[in-house]
């Protein structure tokens, strides 16, 4: 499916759920999200549900005093809205690659260079995380008995990771320069519309109509 459209649709859905005062509308959205979830991979479904249920449960605990003191409607509304929001975001993040999500930002007129920096930051967090983990293992293997200067060792690891990241950034910049980079970064928007995307637009339009209808009722 067209990723920018998916991102836009999810954001619109979350916005409608947040703004609505109709409990029926929230329930309809939740039913729809659960139906979509039921069509995904079982393992993915479990991961998303665990996250949604966990945060919803936490919200319910937080809303418990309000519920007990008589604010029943608001408490239930907030809890169900949280479930809808987290499930929608979970579905988006688990069905789309992170790189596709960052590139979808181009549709929202986010500057290309910002998207590139975001992409590189995410990638290098993972690479530098691996590097610092290896350093930590090396430290562990070389430690005999009890290490009384743990903090200075950790500071050493942090310092080395910083230097390594600086070096990697310089090398990467040189590599980009060698391939013609002169400061302008262009992302090619490859998104194309298929029949599923038009169906998705239709569903978003239906939810928007329901939002207005239940808002007036």
């Amino acid at each position: 499916m067209n990723v920018p459209l998916q991102v836009f649709g999810t954001l619109v859905l979350i916005l409608l759920v947040s703004l609505t005062r109709s409990f029926v509308f929230v329930i309809i959205v939740n039913v729809w999200l659960l139906a979509v979830l039921s069509m995904t991979d079982p393992s993915r479904m479990v991961v998303i549900l665990k996250l949604s249920m966990g945060i919803t449960f936490f919200t319910a605990i937080v809303m418990l005093p309000a519920f007990v003191l008589g604010n029943t409607y608001s408490s239930i509304m907030i809890t169900t809205k949280v479930f809808a929001t987290i499930t929608a975001m979970g579905l988006l993040s688990h069905s789309t690659k992170w790189s596709a999500l960052t590139q979808a930002l181009k549709t929202f007129y986010i500057p290309d260079i910002f998207i590139f920096i975001l992409d590189i930051t995410i990638r290098y967090i993972s690479m530098l995380g691996e590097f610092s983990l290896n350093m930590f293992y090396a430290l562990k293997l070389r430690s005999v008995g009890k290490n009384r200067s743990k903090y200075s060792s950790m500071a050493g690891i942090a310092g080395t990771v910083f230097l390594q990241s600086k070096e990697m950034a310089e090398d990467m910049y040189h590599a980009m320069e060698c391939r013609g980079f002169t400061g302008e970064y262009h992302i090619n928007d490859k998104s194309k519309f298929k029949w599923r995307d038009y169906l998705y637009i239709g569903i978003i339009a239906v939810f928007f109509t329901l939002f207005i209808y239940f808002g007036r009722v």
Binding site: K97, S99, A100, T102, Q103, D119, I120, R123, S126, M127, M168, D171, M172, H174, A175, M176, E177, C178, R179, G180, F181, T182, G183, E184, H186, N188
Partner: protein, 251 residues
């Protein structure tokens, strides 16, 4: 084609290149050899315009390449289109979110139209035999696969000169053999190859001329690769080999 006259370069107070004089003709296959820290990688960076000499001159196709000229976007793009650099560490060279985008990066930066970009990417992927990696994330590939993608990224610009910094490092024997055969094909097709390598067993296959750096950061020998490999005393003098090295050529 490439002319270095009395080139010197230092990193702060540390001399990396000391009065280098080197001339490279079109179509040559040259190996830069020397012990660790003798200045091979520095010279490769200089050839690619990443650094500029502190003294001396570097000319490419008769035109001097200076720091000031490299500030001009047009000149910089032109130089980088003609000289491609494959870095020693493929991880730093691969920064896009898919192999397709990685190979397309160079032509897109040069302003090539998208249909031509697709054509070039398809050709390069086919040439390197990595079509199935098209939509893969470069970071998740193995060492050899990354090296192939890095080479494809550079070839998509169709450079005249291909500069490789220790391309055999970290590759298994089968992939090393593949790379040697591939580089031989590129040289036969007319590309000038400049390779920095420690692999004394394969260097004679990817070069016919060897430039040997000494620990004094100068060029101590510039001769046919096979002749250099036979001069064991010279190789020992520059600390490239030890007493146990025996020269072999396998045909």
């Amino acid at each position: 084609m490439i002319e270095l006259k009395d080139v010197c370069f230092s990193y702060s107070d540390i001399i990396a290149l000391d009065h280098i004089n080197l001339s490279i003709k079109t179509g040559e296959a040259i190996a830069l050899m020397g012990a660790n820290g003798c200045g091979k990688s520095t010279l490769l960076k200089l050839l690619n315009g990443i650094i500029s000499p502190n003294a001396g001159s570097y000319e490419f196709h008769g035109e001097e390449v200076t720091h000031k000229k490299l500030q001009d976007d047009k000149f910089s793009k032109l130089l980088h289109q003609k000289i491609g650099f494959v870095f020693q560490n493929s991880d730093t060279q691969l920064f896009c979110s898919s192999v397709y985008d990685e190979v397309a990066f160079g032509p897109r930066q040069m302003g090539v139209g998208e249909s031509e970009v697709e054509h070039r990417v398809n050709d390069c992927l086919a040439l390197l035999g990595i079509q199935e990696f098209r939509n893969r994330i470069p970071y998740h590939l193995s060492g050899g696969e990354k090296r192939k993608v890095a080479i494809a990224c550079v070839l998509s610009l169709n450079p005249e000169v291909l500069v490789l910094d220790e391309p055999m490092n970290g590759l298994d024997p089968k992939t090393q053999r593949w790379l040697v055969d591939f580089l031989k094909k590129l040289n036969k097709a007319g590309k000038t190859l400049i390779t920095s390598t420690h692999n004394l067993e394969l260097v004679h296959e990817i070069s016919n001329r060897a430039v040997l750096f000494g620990e004094s950061h100068t060029i101590v020998a510039d001769m046919m690769t096979e002749e250099l490999l036979k001069d064991v005393e010279l190789l020992k003098r520059v600390n490239l080999v030890d007493t146990y090295y025996q020269y072999k050529i396998s045909y």
